[in-house]
Symmetry: C2
Subunit: 205 residues, 2 copies
Amino acid sequence: MDTKQRILDEALTLFSEKGYANVYVNDIAEKVGIKAPSLYKHYKSKQAIFDAIIDEMNHRFEEQAQSLSIDGTDPSKDAKVYEHMDEDHLVQLGNNLFLYYLHDSYTKRFRKMLTLEQFKDKELAKVYSRQYFDNPLSYQGMLLGLLVAQGLLVTDDVPIMALHFYSPIYMLLTVCDREPEREKEALEMMEKHIRQFDKLYGRNF
Amino acid sequence: MDTKQRILDEALTLFSEKGYANVYVNDIAEKVGIKAPSLYKHYKSKQAIFDAIIDEMNHRFEEQAQSLSIDGTDPSKDAKVYEHMDEDHLVQLGNNLFLYYLHDSYTKRFRKMLTLEQFKDKELAKVYSRQYFDNPLSYQGMLLGLLVAQGLLVTDDVPIMALHFYSPIYMLLTVCDREPEREKEALEMMEKHIRQFDKLYGRNF
DNA sequence: GTCTATAAGAAGATAGAC
DNA sequence: GTCTATCTTCTTATAGAC
């Protein structure tokens, strides 16, 4: 990884731990293994480093959204994946979703950074809401909609069903972000949540 | 309100909007209507102001917890309140909970401040989790438990039921904190959530 | 592209008069 | 308790050599 990228990487780590204002250009330089003034050959200011992180993230989000919606617009393909869905598979789906969000280094650091900077301006607020509210609800609504179409789950309001599936996951995620030692407890609640979700929305027979 | 208290009040407002590190003692003094050095006659440092806010909040939390648990240990009294509970009453209960958390000035500012400072140290993380995760789940579990005892709702896992009731409310609250213009949308989802919750957990006959 | 030296300004805090 | 003046330190950023 070249220096310019390593700066973004170390800055993201520090921003996610201490918040933008509590990270000094000196800290970033130190982590990268250069002196602070050398940073300015790569970025014109500390703010420019932050902006570059947001830009890169937006770029990754778009790629991700595209790949997801491509799958989503091919119901015949997705439907097959969920053809033999049962409670254990649903638990696994939720667990995987949760563990990916929780442990993927880039995802985690970006989410924590955004948590600390979300009130700074309207744009950051939108980025946060889109990534951790609107997009997950929309994507999982699509997935759950497939299960409804197949008669595996029953509801007349898929968006609210998606809210019921996702919001406990989201909340448990925020607990683990601030208290990583509660991960085990969170995972246990996760599994109970999904089994209960399946009982509530499943065809009960 | 005396100066010492006004300092806490203005500081809380500023901390909740911009985060501790982005608020300068000068800003606080200006809002209070005095010069920065005068602050130091009331608090020995900027950090001491922050600590005093946390202390005051912990104090209010304790009072609140006591009054709630007193009600909670008198089931005969609480049961009466929820004797004639139906879906519309449940919607109102959720709405009131949501609107109180959302608009109560002190609650809102403290929640937003804690959101921005939650990763600073373990103590703040605990305060956040206790106030916005553990306590609500425990209190609402108690309330919903009363409804289960009366046969109005059905489940064999009240804690997960409380998770299903509260986590959408919590998530919608965080959306409104960062994008207040989405309040109407959030309230609509809230109502749909609770009506759906009632259908899922209600005695279906 | 990295360094040393340093400018320029911001921010927390203190001294001492009133 | 509040003020003006000031100190000290920290922090971002630039200049210019290598």
